[in-house]
């Protein structure tokens, strides 16, 4: 699978869940959730079996940023044929870069590389949902995303905390 050096130590690669999903990555997920969750009273409880099924079905793409081999960021996408347009679209499901790498355009270059991988697969439209708790709009605009959000997402709690 595709792999490229961002610097001498930093690499970007597409990986399988078997390659990247270990205790270290799960710790990153917990850190990620603690930083950006908009519903912190709902406990993080990933359905890994469903992620594996999506990978087996060819829907999941995991792009991993590593420093000297240690995972420091990830971008996970779902590739689906649009129900309305039957075009191949990608929706970012997870995006995280460890705080110490959020400088010097590392995050932007990683995301730009992810877009290149998706374009090679024939993806026509890629979407990112920027949470109010973790705004990276400026990075998306530098990468050529539409300057005005395509959509804003509203949320309503219908049920009590679990």
């Amino acid at each position: 699978m595709a792999m490229e050096h961002l610097t001498a130590d930093l690499t970007m690669a597409q990986e399988t869940l078997a390659e990247c999903l270990d205790d270290h990555a799960k710790t990153f997920l917990a850190l990620h959730w603690a930083e950006i969750s908009t519903t912190p009273d709902i406990p993080l409880n990933p359905d890994y079996a469903q992620y594996e099924r999506l990978e087996a079905d060819g829907v999941l793409r995991c792009y991993i940023l590593r420093d000297q081999g240690v995972l420091q960021g990830y971008a996970v996408f779902m590739l689906t044929q649009s129900l309305k347009y039957q075009t191949l679209d990608a929706m970012c499901d997870l995006l995280y870069v460890a705080p110490r790498y959020r400088h010097g355009l590392i995050g932007g270059r990683f995301m730009g590389w992810c877009d290149e991988q998706l374009a090679k697969e024939g993806v026509q439209l890629v979407r990112h949902c920027v949470q109010r708790t973790y705004a990276y709009d400026a990075t998306l605009l530098r990468l050529g995303y539409e300057p005005v959000p395509e959509q804003v997402v509203y949320l309503k709690r219908l049920g009590p905390s679990t």
Partner: protein
């Protein structure tokens, strides 16, 4: 079960077989013409996948009819969330109300009723996407929704 929301206007949950006909396909085309942010990508619904989602129990279709004729719809996917397995989330896929029925409180009544149906099923969180081409955020605000995020899109084929 059919609920009256105004004189001659009813709402109810329907199956695709009940509601998907030439008339609703025309409404979909009107809807697309009004709100699609990428007008150069032709509308080409994958009805087979909608039927598969319905068969899997993941689709909810709520129809508003005026004198028996479909004039609005709210379609949701309803799934346990992949990150929060204990929580069932609903995501709006399609929402439309014919222009002549807007600005009369019907949209608000329809959406409030839809939220009640989803709540009765155990849905904990419902999400609505507001396109830049059709802003109904003030209606959502009045129903207790809050802004969660912004969706940015990039065309990779240009």
């Amino acid at each position: 079960m059919t609920t009256d929301v105004a004189t001659g206007v009813t709402v109810r949950q329907e199956t695709l077989a009940q509601c998907l006909d030439d008339h609703t396909r025309t409404l979909l085309l009107m809807h697309w013409t009004e709100v699609a942010p990428h007008q150069d990508i032709p509308l080409d619904p994958d009805y087979d996948t909608y039927y598969r989602l319905e068969a899997a129990g993941c689709l909810r279709v709520y129809i508003l009819r005026e004198h028996g004729i479909a004039m609005g719809y709210a379609v949701f996917t309803v799934l346990p969330n992949m990150k929060y397995r204990t929580s069932i989330h609903a995501m709006a896929d399609l929402l439309f109300l014919a222009p002549h029925l807007r600005k009369q409180g019907l949209g608000r009544e329809f959406l409030a009723w839809v939220d009640d149906q989803l709540r009765a099923e155990g849905v904990q969180i419902v999400r609505q996407g507001v396109e830049r081409t059709y802003d109904f955020s003030s209606l959502l605000d009045s129903l207790g929704y809050e802004l969660e995020g912004r969706v940015y899109a990039r065309r990779l084929d240009r």
